[in-house]
C-alpha cells in the first residue's frame, strides 16, 4: 500500500507582521509510519515553510505546550498520530488565549494570571519548617488522591473547549477550579472553604460554569473535571449559604510505634 498524501490546512496569521491577515494555508505531506503531528509539522517547517509557528517542547505528551485544535477539537498535537485522522487535517490555534502567531498561543500568560488570582500555591502553616526533622505524615491514599488532581499540565484544552470562557474573559476555567479542588483536598493547606469561596464563589469562578462539560471530554490527562467542579460547587454553595468559616480537613496523627 502506498503512503497517503496528507493535506494539512493551517490557519496562518502573525499579528506582529504588518499586513498579515488570517488565512488558511494548505501543505501536502507524505505520511510515514508512526507519524505524529509533531513530525508532520517539523517536516513542513524544514522543507516547505520556515516561517510556520507552533509550540512543541517535550514532544512526549507531558509538558502541555502543543495544545491546538485539530479538526475543531482541542488536544495535544505531539501525541496525535496522523493514522488516526482523515486525509485532510485542519489545524487552528486554540481560542481563549492571546494569539502569538499561527498555531502558537500564549497559555503561559493566561495560566500565570489565573494562578495569581486563585493563589494556586500551597498556603503553609509554617513558612520555614525545620528540614532536618521527619516530614509530616500523610495517608498514602490521600497522597494518591491529591496527585490525581495535581496531574493537570495546564495545556489549556479545557479553556479552549469551554462555553463560559467564550463569554466571560475572566472565567478561571476547569483548570482553575481543579486547582482549588486540589488545594482544598490537601491538609497541608491552611485555607478553608470560606477562603476558597472568596476566590471562586462567583460567576468568574464555580458559579459561571454551565456544566457543558466539554472540559471533561477534551482533557488530555483524563482528569475528572466535571465531578470536581460539581463537588466544589456544592461545597461553595454550602459555604456561601452558611456564611461561616469551615475548618479544613485535618492531617492524620503519627502512627504509634
Amino acid at each position: 500500500m502506498s503512503a497517503r498524501q496528507l493535506t494539512i490546512r493551517i490557519l496562518r496569521y502573525n499579528p506582529q507582521e504588518p499586513g498579515s491577515t488570517p488565512r488558511m494555508q494548505e501543505y501536502v505531506v507524505e505520511e510515514a509510519d508512526g507519524m505524529t503531528l509533531f513530525i508532520a509539522l517539523e517536516e513542513i517547517r524544514e522543507r516547505q515553510d520556515p516561517s510556520l509557528q507552533y509550540d512543541f517542547v517535550c514532544r512526549a505528551g507531558i509538558c502541555g505546550s502543543c495544545a491546538m485544535t485539530i479538526n475543531g477539537r482541542p488536544t495535544l498535537a505531539c501525541r496525535t498520530l496522523t493514522r488516526n485522522l482523515g486525509q485532510t487535517i485542519t489545524l487552528t490555534p486554540m481560542p481563549g488565549f492571546e494569539l502569538i502567531a499561527d498555531l502558537s498561543v500564549d497559555t503561559g500568560k493566561w495560566m500565570r494570571g489565573m494562578s495569581e488570582r486563585l493563589e494556586s500555591w500551597l498556603h503553609m502553616r509554617e513558612e520555614n519548617p525545620d528540614l532536618t526533622k521527619l516530614e509530616e505524615r500523610m495517608e498514602p491514599k490521600l497522597a494518591q488522591e491529591i496527585y490525581e488532581l495535581d496531574r493537570c499540565i495546564e495545556c489549556g484544552c479545557c479553556v479552549a473547549a469551554c462555553g463560559t470562557a467564550r463569554m466571560r474573559e475572566d472565567f478561571v476555567g476547569a483548570v482553575g477550579l481543579n486547582k482549588i479542588a486540589r488545594f482544598r483536598l490537601d491538609p497541608r493547606d491552611t485555607r478553608g472553604d470560606a477562603e476558597f469561596y472568596e476566590l471562586v464563589g462567583d460567576d468568574n469562578g464555580v458559579f459561571g460554569c454551565m456544566s457543558l462539560l466539554a472540559c471533561h471530554d477534551v482533557c488530555p490527562k483524563d482528569l475528572p473535571l466535571g465531578t470536581q467542579i460539581a463537588f466544589i460547587r456544592r461545597k461553595m454553595v454550602t459555604s456561601g449559604v452558611r456564611g461561616e468559616k469551615l475548618v479544613p480537613a485535618a492531617g492524620i496523627e503519627p502512627a504509634t510505634p
Binding site: P50, L81, P257
Partner: protein, 667 residues
C-alpha cells in the same frame, strides 16, 4: 536602548533556575527568570521516575544514609565526581525532599503492612513498618544499594516543577517568558548579565545583574536520537563558552538511557526496571544476568546501555523496518501497578506505539539522555574564571556526576544545587564589593554586536547555507560517531566534519528573513552555538584515550587512573577559531574519602594510580583507629566538607531508625 536591572538574573525556568531565584528572593534580593517557554513546560517535568534522597523510610531502604548515597554516587560517576560536592549534595537531598513536601509535592507515601513486589523477576512479599506509615516512600533504581528514589506516582518531575513554579509565583518572582539569552555581558573578568531576544517580537534587550546564573538544562539536541525536549540544545553552555573566559567541564561525558522507545526516542522511566521490569532479546531471553550477574537490569545506566548495544551487535536484536531494537517487558508487574505507578509509560506506549504494555512488550534502544558536563563551577556554583557567573542543574558541571549520573540524582541535583548555589548567589549579592559599576558602553556594544549578527544572518550577505540542514547533519554525526561506543577513528571524522559544518555555519542565509518571530532565524543562531558545544564533546572524547563511565572508547576500553583521573576543561578563547582549547584539571586521590576501585558492576580491569593504594590504606587506618566513633565523626576525619555548606543546610538529617535505635538502647 532597553536595559532591565535586577540583582540576580536566572537564565532558564526549570527546577534549578526557579529554585535559585526563590533562594535569592528569600534573602531579600530581586530575582528575574528568563525562560524560552512558560516555566511549567520546562524539561524538568519529564523526569518521571524520582528523586534520590536517603530517607530510608521503606523497609528496602532501611539502613540507608548519606554515606551509602555518597558511595553509590561516586561509584556511579566512575570516580570522576568532586567528592566534596557529592557530600554536600547527599547531605542536602533529604532536606530538599522535606522542603518540597512542605511546599505541597504529593510524594507517594509508605503504607504499613504487606505488599507484593517484583524483585529479580520473582514475586516477593515485603512488610513495611508501622512507624514508617505515611512517610515519603522510596523505590528501587539502578546503581543504588538501597531503595532510595522518592517519587510521586509516575509524575515526579511534573509534581516538583508545579510546586516549585507555584512557589515562585507566590513569591512574586517575575518570569520573562519566550525570552532567549543570546550572549553574556562581561569584561573578561566579571559577568554583568545578558543580551536577550524576545522570541515573539524580535526585540533585543539587555538584562544587567549583579549575579547571572545559567540553568538551561542539557544539550541532548546535539544528537539525532535523544529523550530530551526540543529546547534542550546546550545553549546555556554555549553562552558561557562564547565568553572565551568561562570553561565547560567534561563535555564528552554524555549519558545514554537504556530504555527510550524505538524509534521515537521518547523515554520510558527507569522505574520500569526499578519496579521489576526485564530486558529481553529477540528469542525472549533475559540477557542482562549473562553480562551483569550482580546488578542485572539495575546496573548503572552507562553499563546497561553498553550491554544492550553489545547484545544487539551479537545478533540478538529484533529487526524492524526502522532498524534494530530490544524489548522491555513490564507485563509481569501486572495491570494494577502499571495503571497507577507507571501510567505515564502506559500512555506513551498507547499514543506513540499503539500498544498496551500490560499485554505487550515495549521496543527500546538506548538514546542520548543526559549531559553530565556543563559550565564548570566551584562548589559554590560560581565559574572559577568569570566572576558573577553561576550555574546549576544539568547545565552545570558542579561536579557531582563525574562520567555517569545515577537515575534519580538529576532532579535531586536541580533542587539541591538550587538551594545551595542560591544561598551563595545571595551571599554574592550581599557583598558590597560586588555592586555593579558598569559603563553603559559595554552594554551598548554587546547589544550592537548581537543586532549586527542577526541582521547579517537575515540579510543573507554571508552566503546561502541552510541552517536546518546543518543542524540535521550535526545531529546525525553526533549520533553515529560520538555515541555509546566510540573509537579514535570515528571521533576524528566527527571532529573534522563538525569543524567543516562550523565553517559553513558562518555562511548561513535565510529563506524567511523576518526580524521578528522567525523559527528559521532562531535555528540559524542556535546552530552556530550548538556546533561549538558539539565540538567540545567530540574533541574531548577524542582526546580522552580511556573509558570512564559513559565515555567508552573501544580502542581504549580500560579506565586509566594514571593518565586520565582528571576533568576536561574546554574554552573558546578565540572567537574566530574552529576548535575549542582543551585543558585538564587533575582530581586529587589524596583528598578522596572513597579512593578509586571497582564500581561493583561493569568491567573490572582499570589501570590503578600508584597513589590509590596509599590513600586506601590511610582511609582504612582512620576507620580502624576510630572504630568506636560515630559515622559522622569518621566522615569528618576522612574528608571534611561541612564548612562548604551554607549554614542553613548543615544540620544532621533525622530518620525513623534513629528513634528505633534509641528505643532499643532504652530497653
Amino acid at each position: 536602548m532597553k536595559i532591565i536591572h535586577t540583582d540576580c538574573l536566572v537564565i532558564g525556568g526549570g527546577l534549578a533556575g526557579l529554585r535559585l531565584a526563590i533562594a535569592a528572593k528569600r534573602r531579600g534580593h530581586d530575582a528575574l527568570v528568563l525562560s524560552l517557554v512558560p516555566p511549567k513546560r520546562s524539561h524538568s517535568s519529564a523526569a518521571q521516575g524520582g528523586m534520590q534522597a536517603s530517607l530510608g523510610n521503606v523497609i528496602k531502604g532501611q539502613g540507608d544514609n548519606e554515606d551509602v548515597h555518597f558511595e553509590d554516587t561516586i561509584r556511579g560517576s566512575d570516580w570522576g565526581a568532586d567528592q566534596r560536592v557529592v557530600r554536600m549534595f547527599v547531605n542536602t537531598a533529604p532536606k530538599a525532599v522535606r522542603e518540597l513536601a512542605a511546599w505541597g509535592v504529593p510524594w507517594s507515601r509508605v503504607q504499613r503492612g504487606d505488599r507484593h513486589v517484583i524483585i529479580n523477576g520473582e514475586k516477593v512479599t515485603i512488610t513495611e513498618r508501622d512507624e514508617a506509615h505515611g512517610l515519603v516512600a522510596q523505590r528501587d533504581f539502578g546503581g543504588t544499594r538501597k531503595w532510595r528514589t522518592c517519587y510521586v506516582s509516575d509524575g515526579t518531575g511534573h509534581a516538583m516543577l508545579f510546586a516549585v513554579s507555584d512557589r515562585a509565583i507566590a513569591q512574586q518572582i517575575p518570569v520573562h517568558e519566550r525570552i532567549e539569552a543570546l550572549s553574556l555581558i562581561h569584561d573578561g573578568a566579571r559577568c554583568y548579565g545578558a543580551v536577550a531576544r524576545n522570541l515573539v517580537t524580535g526585540e533585543l534587550c539587555a538584562y544587567v545583574a549583579k549575579a547571572t546564573a545559567i540553568a538551561t538544562g542539557g544539550a541532548g539536541r546535539l544528537y539525532r536520537v535523544t529523550t530530551n525536549a526540543v529546547i534542550c540544545e546546550g545553549i546555556g553552555a554555549a553562552l558561557a563558552l562564547e565568553t572565551g573566559v568561562a570553561t565547560l567541564g567534561n563535555m564528552e561525558a554524555v549519558q545514554f538511557h537504556p530504555t527510550a522507545i524505538f524509534p521515537a526516542g521518547i523515554l520510558v522511566t527507569e522505574g520500569c526496571r526499578g519496579d521489576g521490569g526485564l530486558l529481553v532479546d529477540v528469542d525472549g531471553h533475559r540477557f542482562m544476568p549473562d553480562y551483569e550477574p550482580e546488578k542485572k537490569e539495575l546496573a548503572s545506566r552507562d553499563v546497561v546501555a553498553r550491554r544492550m548495544e553489545q547484545h544487539i551487535r551479537s545478533g540478538k536484536s529484533v529487526k524492524s523496518r526502522f532498524g534494530e531494537h530490544l524489548w522491555l517487558d513490564i507485563r509481569l508487574l501486572g495491570a494494577k501497578h502499571i495503571e497507577t505507578n507507571l501510567r505515564e509509560v502506559k500512555e506513551i506506549c498507547e499514543y506513540f506505539l499503539g500498544i498496551d504494555p500490560i499485554h505487550q512488550m515495549i521496543p527500546v534502544r538506548p538514546a542520548q539522555h543526559y549531559t553530565m558536563g556543563g559550565v564548570r563551577t566551584d562548589h559554590t556554583g560560581q565559574s572559577p574564571t568569570l566572576k558573577g557567573l553561576f550555574s546549576a542543574g544539568e547545565a552545570a558541571c558542579w561536579d557531582m556526576h563525574g562520567f555517569n549520573r545515577l537515575g534519580g540524582n538529576s532532579v535531586a541535583e536541580t533542587i539541591v544545587a538550587g538551594m545551595i548555589v542560591g544561598e551563595y548567589i545571595a551571599d554574592y549579592c550581599d557583598a558590597a564589593q560586588n555592586e555593579v559599576t558598569l559603563p553603559t558602553a559595554l552594554v551598548r556594544d554587546a547589544l550592537r554586536r548581537e543586532r549586527q549578527h542577526l541582521e547579517s544572518l537575515a540579510s543573507g550577505e554571508n552566503g546561502q547555507e541552510d541552517a536546518m540542514a546543518l543542524r540535521t547533519r550535526m545531529q546525525q554525526i553526533m549520533t553515529d560517531k560520538v555515541g555509546v561506543f566510540r573509537t579514535g577513528e570515528a571521533l576524528k571524522e566527527a571532529v573534522d566534519e563538525l569543524t567543516q559544518l562550523l565553517t559553513r555555519s558562518h555562511h548561513i542565509g535565510l529563506r524567511y528573513s523576518a526580524m521578528g518571530a522567525n523559527p528559521e532565524l532562531v535555528t540559524a543562531y542556535r546552530v552556530q552555538k550548538m556546533l561549538k558545544v558539539a565540538l567540545c564533546v567530540a574533541q574531548g572524547a577524542l582526546s580522552r584515550t580511556e573509558s570512564r563511565g559513559a565515555h567508552f572508547r573501544e580502542d581504549y576500553p580500560r579506565r586509566d587512573d594514571v593518565a586520565w583521573l582528571s576533568r576536561t576543561l574546554a574554552s573558546w578563547p578565540d572567537a574566530n577559531s574552529l576548535k575549542p582549547k582543551l585543558a585538564w584539571e587533575s582530581i586529587d586521590i589524596d583528598a578522596m574519602e572513597l579512593p578509586p576501585g571497582w564500581r561493583g558492576y561493569g568491567l573490572r580491569d582499570h589501570i590503578e594510580h600508584p597513589q590509590t593504594a596509599q590513600r586506601a590504606a590511610r582511609v582504612e587506618n582512620i576507620r580502624k583507629t576510630m572504630a568506636d566513633a560515630s559515622r559522622i565523626e569518621i566522615q569528618r576525619a576522612l574528608m571534611p566538607y561541612e564548612s562548604l555548606l551554607p549554614e542553613r543546610y548543615q544540620g544532621t538529617n533525622e530518620r525513623i531508625d534513629d528513634h528505633v535505635q534509641t528505643q532499643k538502647t532504652a530497653t
